[in-house]
Symmetry: C2
Subunit: 128 residues, 2 copies
Amino acid sequence: MTRTHENVRDSPEGKYEEPQTPEAGAVRVEEALKFLEGRWKLVILFKLFGGRVLRFSALERAIPGVSQKMLSQQLRQMERDGLVQRVVYPEVPPRVEYALTEWGQALCPALDALLRWASTRPASTDGS
Amino acid sequence: MTRTHENVRDSPEGKYEEPQTPEAGAVRVEEALKFLEGRWKLVILFKLFGGRVLRFSALERAIPGVSQKMLSQQLRQMERDGLVQRVVYPEVPPRVEYALTEWGQALCPALDALLRWASTRPASTDGS
DNA sequence: CTGTATCCCGTACGATACTG
DNA sequence: CAGTATCGTACGGGATACAG
């Protein structure tokens, strides 16, 4: 599974192409990581994983320490990036619900891979 | 369905334990991501993937735009984190070689998973 | 050759106040 | 309720100079 590669070219669904150079690889990973950059994005992601739907105030309550500004800002970015779906109900008082997109949900396995990797870290041999 | 699997507890090799709460998951992913944070870490990583061994000046030349300060700094962090091995040859002039540790090499599949995920991103429907 | 020490700056983030 | 506006700050990172 972790198969780094072999013949991926001309695969029928043909979306994913192995980066051809180390530089390209680094750049593409950086681009992927940019979707996760931001003090609160991962927290939001995990609150919404599993198809959960939360409204603004619920997220605010669920995430201790976040300010309205930051919550709003990060949600907007995630929406623009296609990670999050935002649904506005034209009511009074206003209600806005947030959920992950399919693509957002699909992040889960990749994060899992990262978690698995991190969990294999050898203990430092020196006393640092 | 975030839940990729079910009973992981008491697995024989028993190293990896699924995070029990969203918060824990977010925190652990953040910790994992911290190993990759830094303007030049990924570039360095990709230069060293595949078991390549490079000395300081070689990395400097291979990474356009990096300063000695940053290169040194990021390499030190990666060394402390256990991603990179640093070998000093007590010669004149000094020679220092850098390579990835096993754990560092093992990052590759996880990054691949991230790359695959990113490659499935739907095109924006709006004109942004 | 392989670094460290200073100085400087942009930006991400936090706190607070205000609005439809 | 669900945000935006404004201000202040901490820190990562660039440029440059110096050192073993």
